[in-house]
Symmetry: C2
Amino acid sequence: MGDEQGRLLAQRRRPSRLSQHPERDLAALADEARALCAEAGLAFSALRGVGVSAPGPLDPASGVLLHPPNLPGWREVPVRRLLGDRLGLPVHVENDANAAPLAEWRFGAGRGFQHVVYLTMSTGVGAGLVLGGRLYTGKQGMAGEVGHAPVEWDGEPCACGGRGCLEAYVGGAAWTRRLAGATPAGSRVAVLAGAPERARPEHVVEAAREGDAFALSELGRYNDYLARGITTLVFALAPEIVILGTIPSAAGEALCLAPVRAQVLSRVWPLLGRELRIVASGLGPQLPYLAGLCVAIEAAAASGP
Amino acid sequence: MGDEQGRLLAQRRRPSRLSQHPERDLAALADEARALCAEAGLAFSALRGVGVSAPGPLDPASGVLLHPPNLPGWREVPVRRLLGDRLGLPVHVENDANAAPLAEWRFGAGRGFQHVVYLTMSTGVGAGLVLGGRLYTGKQGMAGEVGHAPVEWDGEPCACGGRGCLEAYVGGAAWTRRLAGATPAGSRVAVLAGAPERARPEHVVEAAREGDAFALSELGRYNDYLARGITTLVFALAPEIVILGTIPSAAGEALCLAPVRAQVLSRVWPLLGRELRIVASGLGPQLPYLAGLCVAIEAAAASGP
């Protein structure tokens, strides 16, 4: 729970504990929200609305989750109606790929900018776009699938069925698959992971910090492809700031941000690169809470005072 | 001259006849506009404003042309002030790369859509973006330089200094340079051009229509690279419609639009491709007039009734 200035007043993180009965799960969630409110000494009656940042695909207009691949058993779940009935409050549902950039724009690294590209960089890769001071989501909310724009025509196969997608090079899931086969048994990455086939991006980042040659070469490849994707977005959209999500934020300035920035600036025109910020996410672990809060704030702003 | 419904009431096309004295050239232009008005039987007093669609770089806020490479000798010319003083009307100046998509959106192929990508496809390549029902121009008006987003990393050198830019493959100027060296002496392209080194894109289009093998292979290459550029834009922006400018419009459905459409649809996700329109410019030779008219209309709308 939080206020319009992005101050979090109470928060709780818990496993999803999904049953095959979404209506029961959502009722339990609503009851927990009431209890959290009471524990935090907040008046439930002071709440103005509820924001839900959920995995897509979903329909923000009706507040229905369609068939999110990461919520097995949930199909066409009317989250807005179910939560709204239980809580007696207006409920707004937004794709988490859009809610995260909203939070970074309102309260994080993007604050004060008009043209913001936020790149989700974890298992998958996608962009959240704030263009001209408002969220841009395109036809049927599908904009920002830049993880599947090609960075090598006919390159590596991607889980989406395409080839050479940005995500096939810098998506966490794709990178993990690659590492399982590519990690040398003697490398620091393999030692940290316990075995080469268990190597993951976080082991690469950690081993790179220790100077491991294989890890540094893997991270160099990651940075190169990420810079390609950013270069295209800068030419197309002329953003003021590009905010990078999980993996680059974890890798940090020396191992990722600085080399990516240098490569992008060497490729884009000076006028486009001048004052262009390429930075890590500013919200870190608070991002999920603030994403939900932002959905509620945006909805309240859209419906008037 | 035209009205808010995009009806042209009078029009004139003439060579620029630039002297080294921009203020004199603009005074002559203003006098001609008055004369055109009289000849067409229109009351000058009925005019509400003047729209100028000019080559960039320029500053729309001040109405100053900075240093357009295609207007030699013109540097920092205050077009708004000079024309405004002479005509006694509000004058608005916009980059032609933005004015053309505005015209296609208001009165051409993009009418009624909210998310429109217009690709200038003549000497150079650039995008005009109407996103969420309004023109998007990015930081300092520099968005849409997709002609310089790479379609082959480290590919062909581009006039901009970069490598592998879309424009290095499908820009008219780059294609003309390539044709000068690549056109076989016996090809229909060379015959139409008079000599291989005088071959231009329009000769390729004409020869392809007659079935010339070299021309068809050149056009196939053009279509492939154009489809790459469009594919990236569709993933990033989820437009409803992509409108293609000069060269694709001249080449037409069978030689360009249909193959480009097929290639894009084979690469983008079904949900992004469903109902995606990839079409030729709808305004043809009226585009320059309507571009200027649109600049005047947008400015009038922004300043209120």
